[in-house]
């Protein structure tokens, strides 16, 4: 390893420059190769070893700035490993490293003393000479790199220049590493918080997309859709102000809060009010927009409340898609009172509701109204719902790189047929009859044969459960209702008894069999009996 003899006054400047370049090439090679591995800690260690070698110094250390506390924290060190172990913290503006950070320029100390070095470790180590440079990236100071010598040494301008070059590379590596790490965590977090699958509800079709922003990291967009205990469906799209890990974490809290309030049975306006109170109390500096609706698939009614979000698009068959005129209230966290009046929208079979975030429609160069009109035009589409959300992204989202985009579409099935219903005594002897009726109905309805057995067994289980668990010796009745849309089939089994806990070792198997054989199982028990809804998807949406 060549040591740059920078203290040699006879050396020509030309040679110095060549040497510096040579060292730089070596450093660059290390830095670039190490960048691929992204583990910031390992990278810093490797860089420090390299700095020691090329500069012929005894110690090298990297301190990173903790923005909030305004202190430098030792992150990696060679020759003075104690710095890191003891978690040395240097206030910005004080001592050697603190001065570099405060003045954002290199500092050289020819001879260390109590006046110019604060850190006891540097003095105990008997470091005589020091040179340090600020780590600056994107115009922001992120830390300090310094080297030290146990023998008196004059760090020349060429030394400092070389150290600054190393520092710039360290800063870049840290920035890229931290940024990349944060981006990966944020994206993982964000993805984990989006629903794994969309709800399975008879008579409803769902489609959703989330597209992270291109270069600038994860935003706080999210969508959510889930079935409420009363059988209604909650739909929501929100957008946390800000970016990165912090926004993703806030989004996670809001998403869970929304689910909790919704499950407690609060109306959309109450839910937004509670969420506003919560964000004001717990996340004072955060702000988010949110549109939240509850859809009653039986009454075909959507109740929607809005906190600072863009209005949903609704289209009915043979009508132009239009924005829903729901009054907008301040975003969550923006003001103390957020009484958001809800709006009720009546839907018909074939109606589509689209919720989306601003990344879809907001472009600096185009007026918002123009973009919203474009969006409505795309929603005027009666093809498969997945195709609709894809074409929204294709036609409006193609040029979006700086903001993330989330959208959620729900459509009421147009061709709900059936509503076949039969009521029989809750008697094991009637099971065969129920099955035979079901077989006939499934054949007439043209249900694919590979599903028939699953439907028969799962429905049979639900009936057997009702017979076995709902009534005492006095008996009772069970009702089986069948309905089918183009995409879904639903069997509902109702009794009017009070279920008891299963008895015996192999009992209670029925419910787990239903869960395995049906795409969705929904059990609602109440004072007037138990209802089991079983659902199957007849064709996978395109």
């Amino acid at each position: 390893m060549t040591v740059v003899p920078t203290s040699d006054p006879r050396r020509l400047q030309q040679d110095d420059a060549e040497h510096a370049l040579d060292q730089l090439r070596k450093l660059q090679a290390v830095t670039d190769a190490a960048l691929a591995n992204l583990k910031v800690e390992d990278l810093l260690d490797e860089l420090l070893v390299r700095v020691q070698e090329v500069m012929g110094v005894d110690t090298a250390a990297i301190l990173l700035l903790d923005d909030e506390a305004d202190v430098l924290v030792a992150q990696a060190a060679k020759g003075i490993e104690e710095e890191v172990r003891q978690g040395v913290r240097i206030p910005v503006g004080r001592g050697f490293a603190g001065r570099i950070a405060a003045e954002r320029r290199p500092v050289v100390i020819g001879r260390v003393d109590h006046g110019n070095v604060m850190n006891p470790i540097l003095r105990e180590k008997k470091i005589v000479s020091l040179a340090g440079v600020p780590l600056i990236t994107q115009g922001r100071i992120i830390g300090v790199l310094h080297v030290g010598s146990l023998t008196p040494r004059t760090f020349t301008p060429a030394d400092v220049q070389l150290l600054q070059l190393v520092g710039d590379r360290v800063a870049l590596a840290i920035f890229v590493g931290l940024y990349e790490r944060e981006r990966v965590i944020a994206e993982t977090l964000q993805r984990s918080l989006l629903p794994e699958s969309l709800p399975f509800v008879f008579g409803l079709d769902f489609a959703a997309r989330y597209v992270p922003a291109g270069g600038e990291g994860i935003g706080g967009d999210w969508y959510d859709a889930f079935v409420l205990p009363n059988g209604n469906v909650a739909i929501a799209v929100g957008d946390v102000v800000g970016r990165g890990l912090r926004a993703a974490a806030v989004m996670g809290r809001l998403r869970n809060a929304l689910r909790a309030f919704a499950f407690e049975g609060h109306s959309p306006e109450e839910t937004l009010e509670l969420m506003n109170a919560m964000i004001r109390f717990l996340d004072q500096d955060e702000m988010a927009t949110l549109i939240y609706g509850v859809l009653d698939p039986r009454k075909r009614r959507l109740t929607i409340a809005n906190a600072g979000h863009l209005p949903p698009v609704v289209s009915h068959p043979r009508q132009r898609a239009a924005l829903v005129d729901v009054s907008t209230h301040p975003p969550l966290g923006a003001s103390f009172s957020s009484r958001a009046d809800a709006l009720t929208v009546d839907l018909v079979p074939g109606s589509t509701v689209l919720l989306y975030t601003d990344g879809i429609v907001e472009r600096r160069s185009v007026p918002l109204d123009e973009r919203l009109t474009m969006l409505c035009d795309v929603v005027d589409w009666d093809g498969p719902l997945d195709g609709l959300v894809d074409s929204v992204l294709a036609k409006l989202g193609g040029d979006q790189t700086s903001d993330d985009m989330a959208l959620l579409a729900v459509r009421l099935s147009q061709d709900v047929t059936g509503g076949y219903s039969m009521t029989v005594d809750a008697d094991p002897a009637r099971l065969a009859e129920l099955r035979s009726t079901l077989r006939g109905w499934l054949a007439d309805a043209g249900v694919p044969s590979d599903l028939v057995f699953d439907i028969l067994v799962a429905t049979g289980e639900a009936c057997a459960n009702a017979i076995e668990h709902a009534y005492g010796p006095g008996g009772g009745q069970i009702e089986m209702t069948l309905a089918k849309s183009e995409e879904y089939l639903e069997a509902t089994i109702r009794d009017h008894g009070a279920w008891r806990e299963p008895r015996g070792r192999h009992r209670g198997r029925g419910l787990s069999m239903m869960r395995r054989l049906a795409a969705s199982v929904d059990v609602v028990s109440g004072a007037d009996g138990t209802q089991i809804r079983l659902g199957w998807k007849l064709r996978s949406p395109q």
Binding site: D454, R516, L517
Partner: protein, 124 residues
Amino acid sequence: MTLDVIDGVPVLRLAGEVDMSNTPAVRRLIATEIGNKVVAMVLDLSGVTYLDSAGIHLLYQLESKLEVHQQHLIVVVPTGVGITRTLQAAGVIGSFVLVSSVEAALVLAPRLSEAVKPGRRAVG
């Protein structure tokens, strides 16, 4: 439901739909007809067109009863029949000795008894 004894091995054939309305009858028949000299019995489900958790319950119950007497249960389920779905959904494939034909079951029956430790072997 028919019960034959082939080469000393009882073969119980069920047909049609098996649910909670007819499993008690199967249980009664087995309790009275399967003696303790038998080392293995075959339950042939080839002709079963429907089977739900009542049937699964029957299988487990039968096996645990036989086990007490160091007797074995071999279940015949031809490949590709509908009730395979029930067995899959109930997670029982793997917990029973399953074969695809009665012939295979009869070949297997004496071997299963050999696998039992001599000291614990049922008399007969």
